[in-house]
Amino acid sequence: MTQYLSALLLLISAPVLAQAPTVTAQQFVDLQQGDSDYPGFRRAHAKGMCVSGQFISNGNLHSYSTAAVFEAGITPFVGRVSIAGNNPYAPDLKAPVRSFALSFNADNTQQWRVAMNTPPVMAVSNPHDFYQQIMAIKAGPKAIAEFFAAHPESEDFRVWKSSYMPTNSFAHETYHSINAFYLVNENKEHQAVRWSMKPANVTPVSVERFTGENALFNELQQRLANAPVVFDWEFTLAAPEDDENNPAKSWPNTRQKIVAGQVVIEQWQAQTGGPCDDINFDPLVLPSGIQATKDPILRARSAAYAESYRRRAIESLTGQVKEGRDD
């Protein structure tokens, strides 16, 4: 009898047990922070460098979005290139992910923050599974293999990972929005899009400088001393059958693509005290004409970024920040 009862109990509780446990923003940032102790720095993508430049819009997206950024013309930006991880002094070439974030401030009532990474999709589709994925990454290769086996939705991510070859320059990477957003035009028509910034002027790396813990950052500094770094900003338009709320699923390559213009990085500044240091690159700071989808990971990014920002803000104010070794 007790056997039947426990089987019944197990059956009832199975859907609950199968669901990943709910994680809070604090738990998430605690996990990202880990044991590393770098007060005042971002908890994720701690190592970075400020960049600045301009976006030269060709006006091609103007009929899809009312955002002023997409009118033909120039919008300046403050941005940041970074590598994944919680250590602001980590060796550049060991990081699995590279990032590029931008902040457009054409008008103080219409800010736009963009935060992009090298992978085009997530391995999972909600923040609680993402938490488990980071736990697995920290636990080692066996745990990751088990995690991927238990999460078939990670297929598109694994396909990308197996073909991805890290380049020797921030300027040669392609950066992806990963999550989808809606472009909204004057008639309130919504078009789901993802975007990527693709290198537009690939020139050889200055090899003699490409060494050491700051190889990537040094390379970019050297490159910018000679010429601006240019990316094409390409938008991919979702078809009705694409699920814009699932960041793990890539869209077919045949989808319509529109280049909105070129992003030109002209200058760099060290992050400590630099113009990007005080910015929270929360991808949900959006101007009118661009809206967030209901993608659970996109929605979670805002609260997690806010928790990281609160922690480092209070550390900055109370003077806990250690002297920067910012090159």
Partner: protein, 175 residues
């Protein structure tokens, strides 16, 4: 006992209960949204900001209204310390109701985040973020929130004390 209860003016009662609802929902939303990673978090955050601006406008009306209309007097047999506590806590509630939205708006301002008010218009943020000033105002906003929760709890307890223990007309005067 059939003596007539002297109540607050209808406009004061309306503002009191409207703001009570707004403040309790904003405090609850505030506590939930700084923790949650769920899909509704962003909508709750934007509602919190919009209602915060609404509450800031209402508290101005309320303050002017309070200055113009006399409130009912407290029961004559109240001990002096309770009288002082009542007046002091009411002043403190007004101070908090005014400082909460100001500190909230300023923390958004220094994070360079425009505040959308019910999608009708945006309040500008700074042109570039200042993380230290953001820290000042988020710490202030959090401290004021905890103080407001404590003071609202005291206020509710005092109202219930008047009604159920002292059995006077203080709670009824606000109904």
């Amino acid at each position: 006992m059939t003596s007539r209860v002297i109540r607050y003016h209808w406009s004061m009662r309306a503002l009191h209960w409207a703001m009570a609802a707004l403040i309790i929902s904003m405090l609850s939303a505030g506590l939930a949204m700084v923790k949650s990673l769920e899909v509704w978090q962003v909508a709750l955050l934007s509602l919190h900001k919009s209602t915060g601006v609404l509450a800031a406008v209402l508290v101005i009306f309320r303050f002017v209204n309070r200055c113009m209309l006399p409130p009912p007097t407290l029961p004559g047999d109240m001990p002096n310390w309770q009288r002082k506590a009542a007046h002091g806590s009411h002043y403190a509630l007004y101070v908090l109701m005014i400082l909460m939205p100001i500190s909230g708006l300023l923390m958004q301002y220094f994070a360079a985040r425009p505040v959308s008010v019910f999608s009708l218009f945006n309040i500008a943020g700074a042109s570039s973020a200042d993380i230290k000033l953001y820290a000042v105002f988020i710490m202030l906003h959090s401290f004021l929130a905890v103080s407001l929760i404590a003071l609202v709890a005291l206020h509710v307890c005092a109202a219930l004390y008047h009604h159920f223990i002292r059995k006077d007309d203080v709670l009824k005067s606000m109904l």
